[in-house]
């Protein structure tokens, strides 16, 4: 007999079907429609014009590739910084751990716009970093690349997603039997090989969860590049927004959104599969 509590899934399933699946289905339908720009009306039908526009124009594959690259770079950077940070958090005395959790998560609670705004104060021409560098006579003129450049976007995204990655790695490390790492060290493995052969494979599920979250959040972020990237801040998402709002070209907006979505899902799946394969290594060593 099926558990009667399963019925509790109903409200959430209904909400997500109406609020998420239906809209995504509508995107598919509208992507085949066309627009009558004289009457400013959508014309239902089946045409491939918007798909041809998206796949034929090299701008859009470029922007979609950029989204994947942004996600990949942010994921790698947060993983590189997240492991040392999570390993340090692991070594905290127990009663400090819940405090550390609050300290780690509080920056997440600042709104996206607040963080963006604060970076302008840190990295601007008269900002903290430039004033310090000038004050110490390390540079003669303010460094321009600090704000409104790909560097700014990368730094801000790294900042935004680091807590997510760290949290995922920290939880995975708490479950890892540290005696295995000690054993590897006792048997003469240097710290880095011990990390790569023991710690990394045994925390690969945590890394996978963190990587998926960071990838989805950073590749799907439009505001950070938009407000901080300057001329480099063009994103596929901003183009979608442009087609949808300013240009009233909903079919093209839909086709671009779907292409981006499919690419991101495939990239995320490859990323997850690649990370989970790391977990296979210790078994082979054991044999």
């Amino acid at each position: 007999m099926p558990d009667s509590r399963q019925i509790l899934a109903l409200p959430v399933v209904l909400l997500l079907l109406v609020g998420a699946i239906l809209p995504l289905t509508i995107l598919v339908v509208i992507s085949f429609w066309s627009v009558d720009f004289d009457a400013f009306e959508l014309v239902p039908g089946f045409g491939l014009a918007s798909w041809r526009e998206i796949l034929g124009n090299p701008t859009y594959p470029y922007l979609i590739g950029k989204a994947v690259l942004t996600g990949g770079v942010t994921t790698s950077l947060t993983a590189l910084a997240g492991y040392p940070l999570a390993l340090s958090l692991l070594r905290l005395p127990k009663r400090w751990k819940s405090v550390a959790l609050v300290v780690l998560l509080t920056p997440l609670y600042t709104g996206e716009i607040v963080r963006i705004y604060a970076w302008r104060l840190v990295l601007g021409t008269d900002g903290l970093v430039n004033s310090l560098l000038m004050g110490l006579h390390l540079v003669d003129a303010p460094l321009k690349f600090l704000l409104f450049s790909p560097f700014t976007t990368a730094l801000a995204l790294f900042y935004d997603e680091l807590p997510f990655m760290t949290l995922a790695l920290w939880i995975a490390l708490e479950r890892l039997d540290m005696r295995l790492v000690e054993a590897a060290r006792d048997l003469g493995a240097r710290p880095l090989p011990a990390f790569i052969r023991v710690t990394l494979p045994l925390t690969s599920t945590g890394l996978c969860a963190g990587a998926l979250a960071v990838f989805a959040l950073s590749a799907g972020d439009m505001q950070t590049p938009n407000f901080l990237g300057g001329p480099s801040g063009a994103t596929a998402l901003a183009s979608i927004d442009n087609f949808f709002g300013t240009a009233f070209d909903w079919p093209t907006a839909s086709a671009l959104a779907l292409t981006l979505l499919l690419t991101l899902i495939v990239a995320a799946a490859l990323l997850a599969a690649g990370i989970l394969r790391l977990g296979g290594r210790p078994a082979r060593v054991a044999r």
């Binding site: 509790l8 959430v12 399933v13 609020g19």
Partner: protein, 275 residues
Amino acid sequence: MSRRSLAVLTAAVAFLYLPIAILAVFSFNASRLMAFPLSGFTLDWYRSLAGNTNFQNGFVTSFLVAQPVGILGAGLGLTAAMALIAAGRRLRIMLTALLLVPFLVPKTVLSIAQTMVLSRLGLGRGAATLILAQVIVVIPFTTAIIASVLIRLDPRLAEAARDLGASPWICFRRITFPQIKPAVMAAYSMGVILSLADLTIGLYLAGRTQPLSLIVASQFRRELSPDLNAMQVAVLVLTALIVVLTEVYQRRRDARRRGRAPVRQATGETLERPA
């Protein structure tokens, strides 16, 4: 605690709190220009904030939107988590996949698609659509928080209550809910905080409702005024207060539970004394 760990933690805290510290510093700086060197101490920006009805209305709106998002997010997360625990393999995979959708789809894409649906159906946008759209994005988080606690509960407690004649509702209210209340509270604060922090969904689905993040974003495009700093610091202090109060509440609760629950299982888990 090795010296290296300490150095890593110090660097991380400095990095994560640098932008926030800068905001706070400039909110007390006696100059309209937000630039170094600093000009002196002032409370003018907090005073001008007190007279800025635009910001105040925005804050009240944000708060009024965040409450239903927190409550609905926690409630629906609770039902979804209970279903997830009870579900068979097929339903569990389906439900998990469905819950991943609002998490993995970029907020911009989801909001635009929702706007298209509303517009085709001839429905307007406003507080209700904003709240529902935020609830949809919050549900994966609240479900994960509550499910992670539910899955560790001892099922024998609920079974014992049922065997002794408790109805499903009484069993939930007297046995299950008391054990997961902290997680439900955490889910609620998660919902409130994600709602307060949101800008993207508001840009598309808020209609004429103007939460604070939208007002700040529109100012942001024109000119940066220092009372914006004061505002941000005030909002930060308030959100931090929510976090700290929730944490204190949970700790007190845990302490109280430890103090009055003499029954211990072989596994060492603390049991709730039947009321």
